[in-house]
């Protein structure tokens, strides 16, 4: 599903589809697109940014310490590994 420029797409439920690059976390991509969401630690230990992954795969840059359910991700410490669809907790 990788686009020619190597970028992947993040579809946000009830929002827009945005392009993400390999060197940024999902939270960073959302921030660049001016999409507000709650975050605290940005290191995967507080769980404030917990979001639902509906479709696709992510790759963690830091081992998440906060409790996340099987269908949840922490956007502060993972990158998209394919095109993804997520539902964020504003």
């Amino acid at each position: 599903m990788t686009k020619p420029d190597g970028n992947l797409t993040i579809h946000v439920v009830d929002g827009e589809a945005i392009s993400t690059s390999h060197d940024e976390t999902i939270l960073e991509t959302l921030e660049k697109a001016n999409i507000d969401m709650l975050f605290h630690c940005r290191e995967g230990f507080c769980g404030a940014c917990r979001s639902r992954l509906i479709k696709g795969e992510v790759e963690y840059t830091t081992d998440p310490l906060a409790f996340i359910d099987d269908d949840e991700i922490l956007p502060c410490c993972c990158k998209a590994a394919s095109d993804i669809e997520i539902e964020i907790n504003q």
Partner: protein
């Protein structure tokens, strides 16, 4: 069941539940039933800091410039945080340790509580700098009705669990009469008390601290009391981790990933757990009212603070499967995120998490190729 500090029976901690199984004997961390607690310990230790490292001397000048209503907000919050950490510096140890069956969880609770004592010591550091004799402030914590009301609610669930545990340890299961009062002690009742206590601690870590944090950071937004703000940022980072641990415990129970009876209790006591949380929300709103009784401060008032409590409560409650009871959808204090971000926490380099200081970062196997670009 009598508590023993070293259980002579050979046990397998990999199959024990978190609480109410066999008492822990060997403090070993090479294997873990729930590896998350070992990771939390490592993370928490990597956060180690000392209050004295933060220079708060400039705050004294700032404090003199605050209006009377701002002084009231500042000092009241410090008193309340002192109360919260006085409770948290001892209670997890006294209430949970006698009932824990996993070495990694036991050490996590001890580590967690120890860090709360660092927080307590930092309040003394802050107050000693502002007042030549801070006694009056400390003494008011047990006199002030607003604070006492909160103290009663916070310690209630701990005290209840501790007392039931003492009866169970000395008299076993059954109905026991103490000072004319009858107490039913069964394993189910003990587990219920544990569940409710954990919810109350979770609510404490999840929202009770945040009214104070918001006020502190609102001062910092105006470049006031910045030494204090640096310390509170370090405290907030630790509290985030503690919150994460109570959320993990509650979720492990609710999702049946630990003690199956606890999953039943979580379902059975869901409404009571919600009530504990909503009660804390209500109390914090009352606290906001008390803080702003003499006047607001620039950038923050009672209404915004109450909205923030609801906003945070929605997030914290949904994290433990209690839904989002409040209407509010967007963050009324977006700048709070920046103060709670651990990247922005400034500490001495030897204490911070820069990778060059992390133990085990030095590679002991060096091959000849590693020196290929070296010229003498």
């Amino acid at each position: 069941m009598k508590y023993t500090t070293f259980n002579q029976k050979s046990t397998n901690p990999l199959v024990e539940p978190m609480f109410f199984g066999n008492p822990v004997n060997v403090a070993r961390y090479d294997q873990q039933k729930h590896a998350i607690f070992e990771k939390l310990i490592e993370k928490q230790i990597s956060f180690f800091w000392r209050p004295e490292e933060v220079d708060v001397s400039k705050d004294r000048v700032d404090f003199q410039k605050l209006t009377e209503s701002e002084k009231h907000i500042f000092i009241s919050n410090l008193k309340y945080q002192t109360l919260l950490d006085s409770v948290q510096g001892r209670s997890p140890n006294i209430a949970f340790l006698p009932l824990i069956s996993l070495p990694e969880l036991e050490t996590w609770v001890e580590t967690w509580s120890f860090f709360e004592t660092i927080h307590s010591r930092s309040y003394t550091h802050i107050l000693r700098n502002l007042f030549s004799d801070p006694s009056e402030i400390f003494e008011d914590i047990v006199m002030n009705e607003e604070i006492k009301r909160r103290a009663a609610d916070i310690s209630k669930y701990y005290d209840d669990l501790i007392f039931a545990t003492q009866l169970w340890q000395t008299l076993g299961e059954g109905t026991h009469t103490v000072n004319g009062e009858r107490h039913l002690i069964t394993m189910r009742e003990l587990k219920k008390k544990m569940y409710l206590c954990m919810n109350s601690v979770n609510a404490l870590e999840a929202i009770r601290f945040y009214v104070s944090f918001a006020c502190t950071f609102a001062f910092a937004e105006r470049k006031l009391m910045e030494g204090n703000s640096k310390i509170i940022r370090l405290i907030a980072r630790d509290e985030n981790l503690h919150l994460s641990s109570t959320q993990t415990i509650l979720n492990l129970w609710a999702k049946g990933k630990d003690d199956p009876e606890m999953a039943e209790i979580a379902e059975e006591c869901k409404e009571e757990a919600s009530h504990i949380f909503l009660n804390a929300v209500e109390q914090e709103k009352q606290w906001a009212e008390y803080l702003f009784a003499n006047g607001s401060m620039i950038g923050l008032n009672k209404d915004i603070l109450c909205q923030y409590i609801e906003y945070i409560a929605n997030h914290r409650m949904s994290a433990i499967g209690l839904g989002q009871p409040f209407e509010i959808k967007s963050n009324p204090l977006p700048w709070m995120n920046n103060y709670l971000n651990s990247d922005h926490v400034q500490v001495a380099p030897q204490e911070s998490e820069i990778s060059s200081y992390l133990v085990g970062q030095i590679d002991s196997s060096v091959s000849e190729e590693d020196f290929a670009d070296f010229e003498l």
